[in-house]
């Protein structure tokens, strides 16, 4: 288990402020956030490249905050993989074992086994310069994993790869992590990449962690407007909230009113509704609460859904994954329903 308590560091351009995070054994945790959020700096603090100004890092209960990198047994795969250019693939993979003075008769079979499991046995005499992106990633993984680190830190391991390869290698990372029962901390800035690999996600912004949870939790219940925007919520509606029997009543523009099951803010608020959570009504419906009648302003067919812009006194973006709007045209009337449980309410801020 990795525990980070109150970690802070100031590097001028980048900083971390009071980071608290726990990564359980066998967990695949993703650090997600925009560029400059401090994700790589946090990783580098765990590796031991930087010494934090405050806070502690515990690995399996041992305080490693003041230890050198070579004393922490933490594996690190940087963004550019940093394969040693003067060594062959096999020597790269074996480096950690040689550094720890493993017996020679142990190094060879362990190397062969690791390279075979990663499908890179055929590369053993090649130099890093002559490898493709996917091959370099596997060699870097093999080099880090062969020393059986307590946690493996991956800094944007898929960002340098093309889209097709990215999905394939994301699945490969998960397979390796499961087979080794390893603890992985993976840094990225793509929600899709995080969704492909993560057990839990920690979202970072400006050197702090703003929310931790599963992808589903973060998408359904973002902790802030920033998280909602980062997880691609689309409908940000300004209005006024007041407590009600159902939980919360939100009055929006042009007489439109919605219910929310929780009143996390009152007075001037911003309501966030994910496009895919809006229900398209077809035929009879029992519950009229949250029903909105609107006119179709635009229809955009995408591979897996149709994106509809609805004018209902408020602008609402709706995603149709069911195919119900196949016959719809611009200008048609459409009935939609916003269930109370999908409405997230935040105090209105200048960011909105």
């Amino acid at each position: 288990m990795i525990e980070i308590h109150g970690l802070s560091i100031d590097l001028g351009e980048f900083h971390l402020r009071n980071i608290n995070l726990t990564i359980n054994d066998g967990e695949y945790m993703v650090l997600l956030g925009p560029t400059g959020a401090g994700k790589t700096v946090l990783l580098e603090c765990i590796v031991g490249i930087y010494r934090p100004h405050a806070g502690r890092i515990l690995v399996d209960g041992t305080d490693v905050t003041r230890l050198f990198p070579e004393e922490r047994n933490v594996g690190f795969v940087p963004q550019d993989y940093a394969l040693f250019p003067n060594m062959t693939v096999k020597r790269n993979v074996a480096y950690g074992l040689r550094a720890r003075r493993a017996p020679d008769d142990e190094i060879e079979p362990k190397c062969d086994e690791m390279m075979k499991s990663l499908g890179i046995s055929h590369l053993h005499h090649r130099l890093p310069l002559n490898l493709s992106g996917g091959e370099r990633q596997r060699v870097a993984l093999g080099r880090a994993l062969i020393t059986q680190p307590r946690i493996l830190l991956l800094d944007e391991p898929l960002s340098a790869l093309d889209e097709n390869l990215r999905a394939e290698l994301a699945a490969e990372l998960v397979r390796i992590q499961r087979s080794l029962h390893g603890t992985f901390l993976h840094v990225c800035h793509s929600l899709d990449e995080a969704a492909d690999v993560a057990d839990r996600v920690a979202i970072m912004r400006d050197g702090t962690i703003v929310q931790v949870g599963t992808i589903a939790e973060i998408i359904a219940r973002p902790a802030s407007l920033f998280v909602a925007r980062f997880t691609r919520a689309r409908n940000f509606l300004n209005g006024t909230a007041r407590p009600a029997a159902c939980g919360c009543r939100i009055d929006l523009a042009n007489g439109v009113s919605l219910a929310a099951d929780r009143c996390t803010a009152q007075g001037p608020i911003t309501a966030v509704i994910r496009p895919e959570d809006v229900q398209i009504l077809n035929g009879a419906f029992q519950d009229t609460d949250g029903v909105i009648r609107g006119r179709v302003m635009s229809l955009r067919a995408k591979p897996m859904f149709t994106e509809i812009l609805l004018d209902a006194g408020i602008s609402l973006v709706v995603l149709d994954r069911t195919g119900r709007t196949q016959e719809a045209h611009v200008g048609d009337e459409l009935l939609v329903r916003v269930p109370p449980e999908v409405v997230n309410v935040f105090p209105r801020s200048p960011d909105a």
Binding site: G48, P69, E70, F76, A82, F84, G96, R100
Partner: protein, 308 residues
């Protein structure tokens, strides 16, 4: 309009042609200089009668009348010895001080790093005779003078003083190449090596140094060549040694066969001053050969970008 374009194109052609013409002329002049002195390699009939010349003052023919075959002169080989020994010693000292310093400047945020950069760059552009003068003042008129008196170790006008002068410029030039070499090596390599269990020193030796090898070697060669070519500073700080009494040299100097010898650069000047112009040319030819081989080696090792 088309007239203007034609005019500009003609101007460009003329410029390029002029550039090529100047380059070809320089090449011809350099080759002529070498070729015209090649006869110095071959002793003339009068010289063959002489078994060897160790003292140019006392032997019959002067060095110009010696008629070539400078490689038969023991004094020439003592100069070569002195040049090689001092340049090698300087190179090793410069490496011992400069490589760690260059690594530190490359990797760590040292206070005053800009000032250090400016200082070393200034040394490179200073005339070497100015450096010699500064060193004399430093050694003769500062607390260092008292230190020399107390320890009995004198540097001014001595053979070890040659290394002091050579070190100043060799260190500056070597550090320029070594710093560039380390700047080019991604610090991530060491970070990853340490995360794999390697100590800082082991990471440096097994990962950083091999990756920086072309630049390190280029720096060593530059330091050696700069030391071997040093002239003005040595002349001012050490003077000449060829005419000093044999007894004034230490046993170490006699063991290394460097007694009564000047470095090749000083010896070349001395011979021309004394009127033995062809001999001076021959020594100059030797120095050019040494430089050419060094430059070729730097190119071959891929170290060119670390030097110029």
């Amino acid at each position: 309009m088309s007239g203007e374009l034609l005019g500009k194109r003609t101007q460009a052609h003329l410029l390029v042609s002029a550039f090529y013409a100047v380059t070809v002329l320089l090449l011809i002049a350099s080759c002529w200089l070498f070729v015209s002195n090649l006869d110095q390699l071959f002793p003339k009939p009068a010289a063959r009668a002489v078994a060897g010349m160790s003292k140019w003052k006392t032997a019959g023919p002067s060095r110009s009348e010696f008629g070539g075959g400078f490689w038969r002169d023991a004094a020439f080989w003592r100069s070569v010895n002195l040049t090689v020994v001092t340049a090698t010693g300087t190179m090793l000292l410069a490496a011992a001080i400069g490589i760690p310093a260059a690594y530190a400047l490359s990797r760590y945020r040292i206070p005053g790093r800009s000032a250090i950069d400016i200082l070393f760059s200034s040394i490179i552009v200073l005339p070497s005779s100015s450096i010699g003068l500064c060193l004399i003042i430093m050694m003769q008129q500062s607390p260092l003078f008292k230190l020399q008196e107390a320890t009995g170790l004198r540097l001014v006008y001595t053979l070890p003083g040659i290394i002091v002068v050579q070190l100043v410029l060799s260190l500056a030039m070597g550090m320029s190449a070594w710093r560039a070499a380390f700047d080019r090596v991604n610090p991530r390599f060491e970070q990853v090596a340490r995360s794999l269990g390697s100590s800082g020193w082991r990471a440096f030796v097994t990962v950083t140094l091999p990756a920086a090898k072309p630049g390190i070697i280029a720096g060593l060669i530059v330091a050696w060549v700069r030391a071997a070519a040093e002239f003005g500073g040595i002349l001012l700080f050490c003077g000449t040694f060829a005419e000093r009494p044999a007894g004034s040299f230490s046993s170490a100097a006699r063991l290394l066969h460097v007694q009564q010898a000047d470095p090749l650069s000083v010896s070349m000047w001395a011979q021309i001053e004394y009127g033995n112009v062809e001999y001076g040319f021959a020594i100059g030819f030797t120095l050019v050969l040494i430089s050419a081989i060094s430059v070729y080696t730097i190119h071959k090792l891929g170290g060119k970008t670390f030097v110029w």
